[in-house]
Symmetry: C2
Subunit: 240 residues, 2 copies
């Protein structure tokens, strides 16, 4: 029952809500805006992140057991590659060195990709689903502190759907009549969230804030993103 | 000196040419038109072939030692994925089952991908360069026997450049001051051509022709494509 507090939180009786969800989200964005890194760092990190997603999806495509699975993954991979190229275009438009801006983020993201590689196709697929869902959301919120047209365009690009529903459909096709697999993937999904949150944490800039006051700002955002993650896993029927 | 006849042929003194290159090419197309498979088989084969190229390029991207190398490969991978999706759209437009039309070609192409996987990044890169160059050319010529708009659009799509020059630049950057690597890659390039020609051969339809008369038709096309392959390898400086 590691991390079962995800579940407990959801099962708690609904407390009266003081603020509608949209306002909660808006306030989380404001918190995170104070931790937004420079435009250069943001774009470089986000661009390498999309490339990392692409590599994860392409590997899942190669190990996919069916052509139908490959087709779905090819479409999602294509969308992450479009995001990557769009962000690279923004870097070029700012006359920044594309490789140099991505380089500082490559080591952590390459390690992340190795950590969430998974033992088989389904685990690889869940990794794509969880990482893309969580980190696209996070970067969109983190980008709220960016000024200027390039920043706005980057956030808009990242907010576009990469095809999570199609990935979910692939997972459900395998787990709907296989409880053992569903259980294993639920465990895998919970393990992933720690590594995924570390990537998110690595993208914030403390500026002149203390780590403690930064944590206080990140906490409500993570709470919200973990709730969204839990909803996504629930949507897959993966909550043993 | 296995396969050194590639080289000998090129070094022979120029015989007077009776026909200019463009006419030679045109006549080769006519030969191949008699071996063109059905539109359904052609589209299914070409679509899975582009997906195979994509998988080869995506793996090369993942093992690339530099971000600059990843960037180049991401662009080429994106173009092969566009070709794949374009061909899938043609299959859909004809109300054909996309997976079922690709399925008969998957086994051979998956095996091909394993065979040309290579021991390191450079070998993987040469495999992409050789396979994309040779087989895109071949499928364009094989498509000359297709009638109808869908066939014409498919051939036009396949004829578009996937980015061979950018791949070549990556190879040259590594081999220009490394003769040992250049020699090893030249050997690898020659080994590849056999497996690559088998893929091409697997795409023709004998119709009611004998295998012998089919061979007679294929031979001049292969001679031309091998000459193009040799020019490409020469362009890389890979002809020890």
């Amino acid at each position: 029952v590691v991390l079962s507090w995800f579940r407990r939180r959801r099962q708690a009786p609904d407390a009266p809500r003081l603020t509608p969800r949209s306002e909660q989200r808006a306030s989380a964005r404001v918190e995170l805006a104070e931790l937004t890194p420079s435009l250069e760092s943001y774009l470089g990190h986000a661009a390498y992140l999309q490339l990392t997603f692409f590599e994860m999806l392409a590997r899942s495509l190669t190990v996919a057991p069916t052509i139908a699975g490959k087709e779905v993954l090819s479409r999602v991979a294509s969308r992450t590659l479009e995001k990557h190229h769009g962000l690279v275009d923004e870097l070029r438009g700012l006359d920044l060195d594309v490789e140099a801006t991505m380089e500082p983020h490559a080591g952590d993201l390459d390690r992340f990709r190795q950590l969430v590689r998974g033992q088989d196709w389904y685990e690889a697929l869940i990794s794509c689903y969880v990482a893309v869902g969580f980190l696209d959301d996070f970067f969109v919120q983190l980008g709220s502190g960016l000024g200027g047209d390039a920043g706005r365009r980057a956030v808009q690009l990242l907010a576009a759907d990469s095809g999570a529903d199609e990935l979910a459909e692939l997972v459900r096709a395998g787990t709907s009549d296989n409880e053992r697999l569903a259980w294993r993937l639920a465990m895998w999904g919970r393990r992933l969230i720690g590594d995924t949150m570390l990537v998110a944490r690595g993208a914030v800039d403390l500026h002149d804030m203390t780590r403690r006051s930064a944590e206080e700002r990140i906490e409500p955002v993570f709470t919200e993103l973990i709730a969204a993650h839990t909803r996504r896993m629930d949507g897959l029927g993966l909550t043993p």
